[in-house]
Each structure stands twice: as C-alpha cells, then as structure tokens.
Symmetry: C2
Subunit: 333 residues, 2 copies
Amino acid sequence: MSRAVTLSQVAAAAGVSLATASRVLNDSARKPAPAIAERVREAAETLGYVANAQAQALARSTTGLIGLVVHDISDPYFSSIAKGVQHRAREDRHQLLLAATNGGDQLDAVSAFASHRTAAIIMAGSRRTEIDPRLLSELERYQRNGGRVVTIGQDWLDGARAVTIDNRGAGHQLVRALVEDGQTRFAFLGGPDDLVTSLERRAGFRSALAEAGLEPELEMEHAFTSEGGYESVRDLLSRTSAEDLAGTTLVAANDVMALGAIAALRHAGLRVPDDLRVAGFDDIPNLRDFAPGLTTIRFPLEDVGAAAARIVLADDEPRVESVAGELVRRESA
Amino acid sequence: MSRAVTLSQVAAAAGVSLATASRVLNDSARKPAPAIAERVREAAETLGYVANAQAQALARSTTGLIGLVVHDISDPYFSSIAKGVQHRAREDRHQLLLAATNGGDQLDAVSAFASHRTAAIIMAGSRRTEIDPRLLSELERYQRNGGRVVTIGQDWLDGARAVTIDNRGAGHQLVRALVEDGQTRFAFLGGPDDLVTSLERRAGFRSALAEAGLEPELEMEHAFTSEGGYESVRDLLSRTSAEDLAGTTLVAANDVMALGAIAALRHAGLRVPDDLRVAGFDDIPNLRDFAPGLTTIRFPLEDVGAAAARIVLADDEPRVESVAGELVRRESA
DNA sequence: TTGAAAGCGCTAACAT
DNA sequence: ATGTTAGCGCTTTCAA
C-alpha cells in the first residue's frame, strides 16, 4: 500500500492548494467554489485517489473505528450481536474491528484496540466472576484516554456504559411459567461456575423454584456450548436412570447447550418433551428449524448489539440500557 | 482518544531521544543499551504509554490490518470462515476489519478497507455471475496500490489469490453417492440464479444425474437461507402432492437451506428420510444437534478462512488453494 | 550507540 | 474564498 495517490498529487493536478483539495474531498464545513470543486473531484477521479484513513485519523485525532470483543464469532449468540453492531456501526459510518478471544485473553484484544485508537470498545464476551485486574486497568486507561466502553450482559465496568441483560429475571420467568404449567422436577444444566451469565440464570431458576416450594433435582456445570449441553446429559444419565429422570425439565443455561442436551437425549433414546423436557435462553436464530421447537427466553440479540453500538457512540443516550427476556413457548417444555 | 501519552513524553521522561525510545519500544533491528532500554520501558510503563497504531501505520506505510467482507456474519457459513480468518490473523499479528454487506454493496466495504490501507482483503461474500464493474475496478486499483486480495469460493479476480471450493465436484459426488444408493428421483432447491456457488452445485447435481441417465424432477430458486429452504418446500408442495413426491431426494444448495426445507417438510407432516430425503452442502457447525442428521458435503470452513488469511499474507504460498468436499452420510438421505 | 530531523498523508488554524 | 503552514505521533535515514 505504498503506491497510492496522495492528496497533494491531486491538488497539484487540479492546480489548487492542499487545503482546498482537502476541503473538497472531505466533509469540510467550508465549501470551495463549484468550479474549483469540480476540477479537484475530476483530478481525484482520474488519478484514482483514495483517502488515507490513517493519516486522517492522525490529523483529526479520531479514527472512526469501533472494536468488538467476542468470545467465539461462530457462536450464534455472538454472531447475532456482531450483526447488530455491524449494522449500527455502518449507519454511523464506523468500521468494525473484530477480536475473537476464544478463551484467550481479552487483554490482548483490548490492547490492540487501544493501540488502534478505536473510538469505542464493545465488550460482548461472557463476563467471569473473577476479572483479570490487568484487563480492568487496561480498560480504565483506555477510558481515561477518551475511549468509550460498553459492556454487554452486565454493567461491570466503572465509567463504562452497558446493555444489561436480565438473566436472573429470565431464569425466574421461565421456571415460573413451567411451574404454573404443572412441572415440579427441574435440573439446571449450567456453564462454568465462574460465568456470570450462567450464574444469574441459575439464580433466577432457583428463586422461582423456591417461591414454588420446590427443590432443584440437580445442578450441573459444563462448557457453555453445544458440547457442554451434550456432555451434561451424558453425565446426568450416568448418575441417574432414565426412569428416575422421567418428567424432569432440564433448564440449560443457553440455547446451544439446550440443543446439545436434546441431541444427547435423542441419542440415548429419550424423547423430548415426552420423557424429559428441555428449555434454554437466548432464542438464537433459526431455532424454527429444530424439532422439537425449543422453549426459551428470547433476548433480541441483534438489537442488543445495535443498542451497544448506539449508546457507546452517542452522547445523549442513557448510560445503561436494560433488556428483558420474553418467554417463547415451543414444544420442548 | 486525545489524552493519550505520546512517545516523546516517554522519551522526555526517560531522558532519551525520540528515536531511542522508538527503538526500545518497538521491534527495531537496533537494540539500545540495556540500561537505557530499561529506563525507557519503565517510563513507558509508569506513564501508561500505548503506541498509536495510526501513526505507526503512517510512518511505516503498513497497517497490520486485514479486511474481511462477508455477506451475513450471523450465517454459520460466514461466521465459521470468519473464525478461521480471525485465528490466522492473530497468529500473524494482524487485526481484523469486518464488513457485512447484507446484500448491500461490497463496493462500500472495499472502499473503506482501501481507505484504511488494509494489507489485504478477503472476499468471502457469495459471488454473483454479474459482478459490479465498479467493484472490480475498485479491487483492481486496490491491488495496483499494493493491496492483496484473496477470494473465497471461486478464483474470479485477476491478480488476486483464491481459495476455491469445488462446488461442482461436490454436487456431483453427493448425487452420485445417492444414486448408487438406489435413489432415482431428485429435485434441486437452489439459491438465486445468479449466485455462482448455487449454480456450480447445481451443475454437479445435473451432471451426476445425466451420467446415471436420470432427469431432475424439478429445480427451484429461492433465497440462499433457511427461509429460502423453507419456502422452497412450501412452493414445491403447492405444485405437487406429497404422494407424487414420495421417495424424492431434495438436494438443497447449502445446509441452512436444507435445514429450512426439513422444517417445512416436518410442518407439512412429511417425514425425512421416510417420505422424502434431504441433503445439503457445507457441514456447518453443530449439525449433530439436528434430527435427522443431515447428509451433506463437508467443506472445512474454518480451515478455508484460515487458508485465505494465510495465502493472502504470505509470499511463498501458491496463488490458489483448492478445497474438495467430503461426503458426510447421515440419516437425512 | 544515540540523536537530529525529514518525512508519512492529512487537517485545521491562521493568513491573505 | 483560497492558500500557508504547523502539527498529528511515529519511523528511519543520516550525522555525530
């Protein structure tokens, strides 16, 4: 990327000054005379001028970049959020820098974004109960330097904005509905025990059961993935016979876990919802294609992503936006 | 992002020159004396220095950015590719700029990337038979300016690299296997008729049938999405009775369409594979969770993304890398 | 080995 | 209305 035409070449070709060329080609407040402007535009066109965003960023000290940190972009939860972020970023004429941590450090991602002087960072990755203090201080420094941060899920960073997701309420709402439906036996298929999203959903699960005077049959912890869901059921079946489990509702900590769980049940010859019931959270896309249809709590993930991008870029938005879940009853529970 | 500490502040604090500070803090060939280096690093640390990637890019005239253009990041096909790209980009210490076109112009995305002087652009978006000439010339200019381009799917751009996907061979292989299995009735549920991937898969479908002396019952065109697959089946059932369709194998142009088709069949009270059979392409993640298991041609999407990133960044790689599909027999066909 | 200084390409005061 | 010029933060040649 070295042979590119520069603004001064355009200016020279058009016989005007650098400043004039700049004013014509960018959205400057001052508009040069139409005749001049035309000449400049023509020169730019024939020379094949492409503005250098790096140089503009340096001069304007603002980059038009926004950074998104996700755990795994191939997880439908994150890719839906990314879609929403992308959509909104486009509207605000921002480019999206994407970092997938895949369990690795968010720290590296944040450092890279800070170095690239992104206008904002969206932390969509699942929050852990124990946050790396270095991540925290990196984010704080980023904010001190004028960077904006928005967290998705919980409002866990001082000075940052947030799109919070009512996981606890969702867990409660889901279980209460199932209890009202006559269900009495519940097990929770959770993610790792330091994943706040999973913990909150479980807390809602527990409180709804307690309200109904019920006890959970079991609570498990496995990976927050389809495999984790699958594994949970295998684990479950290795401890308890299918007969003993009959009529139990398995509440998975998210939809992909729920789908993995259903697959495991199917492979074990058990039927959903006849033998066991299963429910999840999120309402990831294309759930319609699954059978049985998954009962879940819907969170509008694309909207969440878009909201995060919106509030982190705007100045007149509330600092926090809360998203409540909505029960979606399908066949699985 | 204006209050950030600069290199000269660090240099001043350490009592050395700008040049020395630069040499210490970056991977310069020349290494200053250990004592000096330590002083600089310490100053950088206490001041909270974060290198400005924009300024570095300007000075070095190379950005360490790589641009990925996809159609829809929430489509598992693209998000799997993105995951592979991201992974490889990380290894090469590059940041990923993501653009989702969602049917809109790839042109805007490419222009933005060109402006940001990305070292390379990966075009993963589905290629159309008719390519916007402006997109073409933008990409050509980008390459002339030293930018590298790699296309995924087909090798359609002069001077660019490519990771080609053997769609035709895949269609052929799939149908031949099914024919050997005793199937004789086939219909193709295609994407839009200008989508090259869909066309190629259909060409393979046709040639395998022709070789077997068979005729397709029907070929349809709908959206290249789950909805399109669903719609295809509704369309099909509105024209032909379920009895007349019995034993037909529906070959969908990709997995998400196949999944949508299966859902539509199920909703129509038809059973897969008992009443009709269905097959797809790609082997998107978590197919295991579906019932019936989808017979498909697997393309290692993550590897494809990683390969694209690898060959576009390296100098000693072949210009084109081809990926063949692998038949995955499951229950649906 | 270290430092001085000339850019990298562009923006935005400030002058004219 | 247009032009001049001093940066933006950093790298790198060239001197010392």
